[in-house]
C-alpha cells in the first residue's frame, strides 16, 4: 500500500499472530484504528505488560508473572503426584477436563533429536531435581501421542523408575463418540492392545 508507513508497520506486526495473513492483518488494523482505538490501546498495554512481565515458574516451568505459579504455590494441591505435559495449554485443558489435584511440570516442548532438542533444552535437570527431592510418588506422563512425545515419556519414565517412583502414561484409544470404522489403524491397535478388564 505505502500511503502510511505507520499503518504498514501495524499490518506487518499483526502478521506475527498465528493464522493471520496480509488480508486479515489489514482488516484488523483498520478495525482497530477506525472503530476501537480504546481496545487497541488496551491490547498494546496488555501485550507489553505480558511480554515483559511473564516468565517461567521456578517449580514447573509454566508461564507465570510470579516467581511460582498459582498451582505450584497452592496448598490445596496433592504434592505427591506430578503430571508432565508439553505445553502450558496442556495444563489448562487438563485442569478443565480432569479432576486432577496434583501438580504439573511443563516441558515446553518434547525431545526431538533431529531438531536438536535434547533433555537440556527441556529443563530435564529441573524435573530430575524434583524427582530427587523424594516428595513425589507418582509421575503421570501426559506428553502428546506422537513419536517425540513417546520418546520423551520413555526418558522420564526411566528416570522415575530408577528412583523408585511409579510412572504412568495416559491411555491412547478410541475417542468418545468415535466409530471404529473411521479410526486409524495405529490408534485402534493401541486401543486393542491396552484393553482392560470390565
Amino acid at each position: 500500500m505505502g500511503y502510511s508507513p505507520l499503518i504498514d508497520r501495524l499490518v506487518e506486526s499483526l502478521r506475527c499472530l498465528p493464522g493471520v495473513g496480509p488480508k486479515s492483518a489489514q482488516r484488523m488494523a483498520f478495525h482497530l484504528l477506525e472503530r476501537n482505538r480504546e481496545g487497541a490501546l488496551a491490547l498494546s498495554d496488555n501485550l507489553r505488560q505480558a511480554v515483559e512481565g511473564i516468565g517461567n515458574c521456578r517449580s514447573c516451568r509454566t508461564l507465570t508473572e510470579h516467581d511460582q505459579c498459582s498451582l505450584c504455590a497452592s496448598d490445596r494441591r496433592d504434592r505427591t503426584v506430578l503430571c508432565v505435559v508439553e505445553t502450558p495449554a496442556d495444563v489448562l485443558v487438563l485442569e478443565k477436563a480432569t479432576g486432577f489435584r496434583g501438580l504439573y511440570f511443563v516441558l515446553m516442548g518434547h525431545l526431538s533429536p533431529l531438531d536438536g532438542i535434547g533433555p537440556k533444552e527441556l529443563g530435564m535437570d529441573l524435573l530430575l531435581d524434583r524427582l530427587d527431592q523424594g516428595e513425589i510418588v507418582e509421575v503421570i506422563l501426559a506428553t502428546n501421542a506422537t513419536v517425540e512425545g513417546e520418546a520423551t515419556a520413555h526418558y522420564i519414565s526411566q528416570a522415575a523408575r530408577s528412583r523408585g517412583i511409579r510412572s504412568t502414561r495416559i491411555a491412547h484409544g478410541v475417542p468418545l463418540g468415535g466409530e471404529l470404522e473411521y479410526i486409524d489403524g495405529g490408534t485402534l491397535s493401541h486401543a486393542f492392545a491396552d484393553r482392560r478388564e470390565t
Partner: protein, 251 residues
C-alpha cells in the same frame, strides 16, 4: 527436472522428519525407494480435523502419492501399508538415529533402493525388539554402499588377498583392511568379523561389537565434526542407570 511436474502414485515411504509449515500444514521429509529422500508438504495435516496426522508419524510404513514441481511436492494421498507395530523405548532412540543418519547423509532425490529395504528391515526388527543391533549395522552398510562409500570387506587393501578368518586386521577409513598386529588411526578387527559383515551375517556378539566400532568410526568420518544428536540421547538403561549418555551409541 525442476520445470516439469513430478508425480508419484502410491510410492512406499517412511516419514523421517516433520515440522510445522504455515498454520495448518506439515513439511515432511520422507524416504522412498525410487526417489530417495523427498520433501513433501501435507496441507491441512495439522488442522483440528486432519485425519492423516496419525499416519504421518515416523516409523510407519506408508504409501504416498504426490505431485508438484520444484524442490517440494504436495502430498495428495497417504495410506498405511499394513498396520505397523510402533517403536517403543530404546527402539525409538535407535529409530531416531536411523532417521538422523538419513537426513544428514542423503541428498533429496537421490534414489537409494538398498538403503530403503535395509531401513524397512531395521524398523521391523526394532519394533519386535529382536536383532536390532544386527539390523542397524546392515542398514549402515547398505547406506554407505548407496552413498558410494561402500566398505572393502572381502580382501586385504594392500596384498589384495582374501580376508582370513583368524588374522587380525586394521581397517583404515577410505582404504580398507590391512593385515596388522597393531592399529593406529584405524579400527582393529578380526578377519572373522569382516567376513561376517561382508556376508550380512553378524550372528555372534564379538562380530557385532567390532562391526559397531567400525561403522561408528567410518560414519563419524563422513558426518564430520557435528555430532549426531540422537546419539547423545541414547537411553543408558544398561546399568539400571539413567540419563542420556554421550558416549553410547544406539545398540
Amino acid at each position: 527436472m525442476s520445470g516439469a511436474t513430478n508425480k508419484a502414485n502410491l510410492q512406499p515411504a517412511y516419514v523421517l522428519h516433520s515440522r510445522p509449515y504455515r498454520d495448518t500444514s506439515l513439511l515432511l521429509e520422507v524416504l522412498t525407494p525410487e526417489f530417495g529422500r523427498v520433501g513433501l508438504i501435507a496441507r491441512g495435516a495439522r488442522g483440528p480435523k486432519s485425519k492423516i496426522r496419525a499416519l504421518l508419524q515416523p516409523f510407519r510404513g506408508l504409501l504416498v502419492s504426490w505431485s508438484g514441481r520444484g524442490e517440494l511436492y504436495t502430498l495428495n494421498n497417504v495410506e498405511e501399508v499394513t498396520p505397523t507395530r510402533s517403536l517403543h523405548g530404546d527402539g525409538l532412540a535407535s529409530g531416531f538415529y536411523l532417521n538422523e543418519l538419513l537426513m544428514r547423509l542423503t541428498e533429496r532425490h537421490d534414489p537409494h533402493p538398498r538403503t530403503f529395504s535395509g531401513y524397512v528391515r531395521a524398523i521391523e526388527a526394532l519394533a519386535v525388539g529382536a536383532a536390532g543391533p544386527r539390523a542397524l549395522r546392515l542398514f549402515e552398510k547398505y547406506l554407505l554402499e548407496d552413498l558410494g562409500y561402500g566398505l572393502l570387506l572381502d580382501h586385504d587393501a594392500v596384498t589384495l588377498e582374501a580376508i582370513e578368518e583368524d588374522q587380525l586386521y586394521c581397517y583404515e577409513i577410505e582404504r580398507g583392511p590391512v593385515a596388522a598386529q597393531t592399529c593406529v588411526g584405524g579400527v582393529m578387527m578380526r578377519g572373522h568379523s569382516l567376513i561376517s559383515l561382508h556376508n550380512d551375517e553378524l550372528e555372534d556378539p564379538d562380530s557385532l561389537q567390532e562391526a559397531k566400532r567400525l561403522m561408528r568410526s567410518v560414519l563419524g568420518w563422513y558426518l564430520g565434526a557435528r555430532p549426531l544428536r540422537s546419539r547423545e540421547m541414547v537411553y543408558a538403561v544398561v546399568d539400571g542407570g539413567i540419563g542420556w549418555s554421550r558416549d553410547d551409541e544406539p545398540r
